[in-house]
């Protein structure tokens, strides 16, 4: 064993020297990709199309690689190839799960290597600290007469926004059961109607769920919680010494009351009817409602399938406190992209009504950052969701992560 330890130490020193070699990215004044994006910014759509076409023709061996967690990109790429025949067969979609994709992005950033031509990722803190501050992922603003994007969503460029809400089986639960978020802390009583069957994805395996819990301790969430508290308990919240604020109290009591910790939102929603008897309420992406299979047997071959499906499950967007959590997925171009004009054109395409609808159109729970594209019928507008939900805020997450996550871990351990 001593020999092994000695080897480790020697190898560690050797590797430290090796690892400190020339792999660090030293940001240059302007990279070729940055210059291309700047140029693309000033081009008309026709000019950008011509530039992308020329770029692909000049590089016949290259494929336009698009890495993304959402399969909407796959469908958008297929439509993109149909629209631009010169790109047919020249694109590739790579499905990348966030936690598995981040190490690849970091490795590519450290080595300043090619990873893809287009990247769509979530996790605001990772994006800011690991990718934007190191200038590895770059934004292109596709705004024009048809594409209206809020200034706050331009840099970094938001592609699609998502929400996670409290979903239930409409036949057994219904919108009247969950009216105030404090019900989910398990408080009982005739008038209080505590809810005990909330299913929540384990935050130790799902970053978005961890971000939501962290955000619940933010000042804006505390305001919402205090208001809902007064309405629910009929009195103002009085500071308690064991909690830094009302958000901590809610997080602790909510975690303690979660009845079931699921491991996949998709699978959980898919089998929602299996939990009809226990009246389960599942915190999951609203877009996952499409996976609920209650009507699958009867309608799977029918045009009515989707409409029927989303009526089988329900959610309440009138909950006192908050309705859920809103977070973004950003569409960006790596500094090492080989086909930057094609990337800009594709970004412009998925922000247009045609491209967005090809990827995510007609489905609840997807919202384009192009404010000209409305949400689907029956789904409130993104602006409304942002008012009613807790919204991911990278500044707050960065500032409070160390403290809140320790508190959450303690709550998860039942202490």
């Amino acid at each position: 064993m001593k020999k092994i330890l000695a080897f480790f130490l020697i190898a560690m020193v050797a590797f430290a020297a090796f690892a400190n070699g020339e792999t660090e990215l030293k940001p240059a004044a302007k990279t070729e990709v940055e210059l291309a994006i700047e140029k693309a910014q000033t081009m008309t759509l026709a000019e950008l199309e011509a530039a992308a076409k020329a770029e692909l023709e000049a590089n016949p061996d290259l494929t336009f690689n698009a890495d993304s967690l959402t399969s909407g990109i796959k469908k958008a790429l297929a439509a993109f190839e149909k629209k631009y025949e010169w790109a047919a067969g020249r694109t590739a979609y790579n499905s990348k799960k966030g936690s598995e994709y981040q190490p690849k992005l970091i490795a590519a950033q450290k080595a300043n290597s090619y990873i893809a031509d287009f990247v769509m990722i979530q996790d605001a803190s990772f994006l800011k600290n690991a990718m934007l501050d190191t200038h590895f992922l770059l934004s292109y603003d596709p705004s024009d007469a048809e594409i209206k994007i809020a200034d706050g969503d331009k840099n970094p460029l938001v592609g699609v926004t998502f929400n996670k809400v409290f979903i239930y089986d409409n036949r057994t639960v219904g919108p009247d059961q969950l009216k105030n978020v404090w019900q989910m802390t398990g408080v009982d009583g005739v008038s209080l109607k505590g809810v005990h069957n909330v299913s929540y994805q384990n935050p130790l395996g799902e970053d978005i769920n961890m971000s939501f819990l962290i955000m619940l301790t933010s000042p804006s969430s505390c305001e919402r919680l205090a208001k809902a508290y007064k309405s629910y308990f009929g009195k103002d919240y009085v500071d308690e010494p064991e909690y830094m604020n009302i958000g901590y109290k809610f997080v602790k009591e909510f975690i303690g009351n979660v009845g079931y910790w699921h491991s996949s939102d998709s699978s959980e929603i898919k089998g929602l009817m299996n939990y009809a008897d226990d009246g389960r309420i599942i915190f999951a992406g609203l877009c996952k409602l499409k996976d609920y299979e209650y009507y699958k047997k009867d309608y799977k071959d029918s045009d009515l399938y989707y409409t029927k499906t989303v009526t089988a499950g329900g959610w309440n967007n009138e909950i006192e406190g908050f309705d859920g959590f809103v977070y973004n997925m950003w569409t960006l171009i790596p500094a090492t992209a080989k086909l930057p004009y094609t990337a800009c054109l594709f970004i412009k395409y998925i922000h247009s009504a045609e491209g967005y609808n090809a990827g995510w159109g007609g489905i609840l729970g997807y919202y384009s950052s192009n404010t000209n594209i409305p949400s689907v019928d029956g789904d409130p507008a993104l602006s409304e969701w942002k008012q009613k939900c807790v919204v991911e805020d990278v500044q707050y997450i960065d500032k409070s992560y160390a403290t809140v996550v320790k508190f959450i871990n303690m709550a998860l351990a039942g202490k």
Binding site: P103, A111, N197, L204, D207, G256
Partner: protein, 612 residues
């Protein structure tokens, strides 16, 4: 003519390298330092530095990416802030150790007992039991966890109706479904084939004269077991404990999947591996994750030391000599049939029922509704409707699936060929140079890849593939072969070493005396004698590679590269029917390969124990 003088140093050098065992030792020492020690050192370095900007933000002081720090160790092991160290490290470590020990107990007892019945008794249906006993190992460990949950869950614990409740109305308590105990059981059953193969291989080769001599000397049954049988199977027993403990304590999917009960139920169990994955996957706390990975490895190294102590303190484990040996079977008498029935029920339940369960799940349009049988997740040429899955079609009609399966197969074959051959060579060198420091070092280093968490191991090679001079490895098939061969070498080196240690030196010495060259000695004498054990050394990496995902997930260029990455993609996107179908397909392919190997070579993974 002046006589040429050879310097003593050169003479020693020439003599040293004239022995194949020495050449093998030195070659593998170099290979293992490059492929194992360097990746390990990155974990060690990572635990003492700031890993990225997010971690710098977490530390909240004037530090930046790459700075040296003791913070990760201090924070994880001692922080009293919200009882952080206790909750994040000490309690999970204690509970996970208990889980791993129970898993070892289940694996050794279940696998060892069945191995004994198969090899040393006149039990009926041996071939069938032996064949199906390895099925749980062929399945990914999480599928055993999934089966466990699907079988035992019930409406009394708000988990939906499971098979047991549907069939009998029985609702087991929550602690049987979620938490530490079911995790330990699922892992123990998954790894029981390890014990079966390793212990059974030795029991089969053991000369029964040893036990019979003890019987003649009026030794009691317990004494024979304690003083004769157990010492002989001790290397296999310790190897099993080492492999099962290391695998169980670092297993992520099983404890993550079977941890669904409420915090207040008392069954909520957060394993150390779940804590490690959450720390490593979050940019804020990667360093703490590395600390945890190192500590887990130290645990396993401690067991490795015990293993070395036990195998090193005994003079010999030779059970195969040039002399004749015989195996006499214990007659079970009236207990023969009842014992067989009990074993068949238990083995059938954990080895065959899960396969039927995967098949059924792949054939049901609506999970749990047996009126909705369909073959479309296997055979449909039309993209699936009603979901946002793009152009997903039946797996047998999908060219992507066939290509992925072909690549998985090719990768597993190459990896098993490399790892298996390396294992035999390492086993040879270790056995022939037993006791030498270099051989012990090679033996230990060859086992270390097993102790490195798969995803971290993959991450190290990912970083290498992005480094200047090595970018040709990025996204290549070669890098998958490289990591697979190194990561799965421990299986082969353990089996190779055990098999070589069983061989008496006199067999090879006799061949040396009559001038048989080394290659011929290996291929014509040593390999044929221990063929069944060596074939296990090839088959274990093959099976592990076929069902591996975490190791390759960062390195595959696309989710369509391997069968397991497609399985994960289906599972992630909610296409459970397709993921069950792929799971079943992988198991069937492995079984077919095993069958073909058996027909071509006469050997199989279970034959070493008693399949024939």
């Amino acid at each position: 003519m002046a006589e040429k003088t050879i310097s003593p140093l050169r003479s020693r050098f020439t003599t040293y390298f004239s022995k194949p065992a020495n050449i093998i030792t030195i070659c593998f020492l170099l290979i293992l330092i490059l492929t194992v020690v360097l990746p390990l050192s990155t974990l060690l370095i990572g635990s003492f530095k700031v890993n990225g900007n997010q971690e710098a933000v977490y530390l909240g002081r004037d530090v930046s990416d790459g700075d040296f720090t003791f913070h990760h160790w201090v924070e994880l092991l001692t922080s009293k802030d919200f009882s952080y160290a206790k909750i994040k490290f000490w309690i999970p470590l204690g509970q996970s150790t208990l889980m791993a020990l129970i898993a070892c107990f289940v694996a050794v007892v279940f696998g060892g007992v069945v191995a004994w019945f198969i090899t040393r008794s006149n039990l009926p249906c041996k071939k069938f039991i032996s064949t199906v006993f390895v099925f749980p190992y062929i399945m990914p460990s999480w599928s055993m966890a999934m089966f466990w949950e699907n079988f035992f869950k019930n409406t009394q614990i708000n988990a939906g109706k499971g098979m047991l409740q549907a069939l009998t109305g029985i609702c087991v308590p929550e602690s049987m479904v979620y938490g530490l105990f079911p995790c330990a059981m699922a892992l123990g059953l998954h790894y029981a084939p390890f014990a079966y193969i390793l212990i059974g291989g030795i029991l089969r080769n053991m000369d029964a004269n040893l036990e019979e001599a003890a019987t003649v000397l009026k030794a009691s049954r317990f004494k024979i077991l304690y003083r004769v049988t157990l010492p002989i199977v001790m290397p296999a027993l310790v190897s099993t404990v080492l492999l099962v403990f290391s695998s169980s304590i670092s297993s992520f999917t099983v404890p993550f999947f079977l941890n669904k009960s409420s915090i207040n139920s008392g069954n909520n169990f957060i394993a150390i591996s779940v804590q490690m994955r959450s720390l490593i996957n979050t940019g804020f706390t990667k360093g703490q994750g590395y600390v945890l990975a190192i500590i887990l490895m130290l645990f396993s190294i401690a067991i490795l030391t015990v293993n070395n102590y036990i195998t090193g303190s005994r003079k010999s484990f030779t059970t195969v000599t040039g002399k004749s040996g015989q195996v006499s079977l214990v007659k079970l008498g009236k207990a023969r049939i009842p014992v067989a029935v009990v074993i068949l029920i238990i083995v059938g339940f954990f080895a065959i029922v899960p396969m039927f369960s995967f098949a059924a799940e792949s054939l049901l349009e609506v999970p749990g509704d047996y009126r909705t049988l369909t073959l479309r997740y296997w055979l449909s040429s039309e993209p699936f409707e009603g979901s946002n899955k793009g152009d997903t079609i039946g797996i047998l009609k999908s060219m992507f699936m066939w290509k992925a399966l072909g690549r998985s197969l090719l990768l597993s074959l190459i990896v098993s060929a490399i790892a298996g051959t390396f294992g035999i060579l390492i086993g040879y060198a270790v056995a022939r140079k037993r006791g030498s420091r270099a051989a012990t070092l090679v033996s230990n280093l060859a086992f270390l890849p097993y102790l490195i968490p798969s995803m971290s191991f993959g991450a190290v090679y990912l970083a290498l593939s992005y480094t200047k001079g090595f970018t040709w490895l990025d996204g290549s098939f070669l890098i998958l072969i490289l990591v697979g061969s190194i990561k799965f070498m421990p299986f082969a080196s353990r089996t190779g070493t055990s098999a070589m240690l069983q061989l008496s030196g006199e067999i090879e010495e006799a061949a040396i005396v009559i001038g048989v060259p080394w290659f011929k000695r290996m291929t014509k004498i040593l390999f044929p004698i221990q063929k069944s054990s060596f074939i296990s050394g090839y088959l274990l990496p093959f099976i592990s590679c076929m069902r591996e995902l975490s190791l390759f997930v960062l390195l595959v260029p696309s989710f369509q590269t391997l069968a397991t990455s497609m399985l994960q993609e289906y599972s992630r996107t909610g296409l459970t029917q397709s993921s069950n179908a792929v799971n079943l397909l992988i198991i069937v392919v492995v079984l077919v390969i095993q069958f073909v190997v058996n027909k071509l070579t006469g050997a199989s993974i279970d034959k070493g124990v008693g399949g024939n």
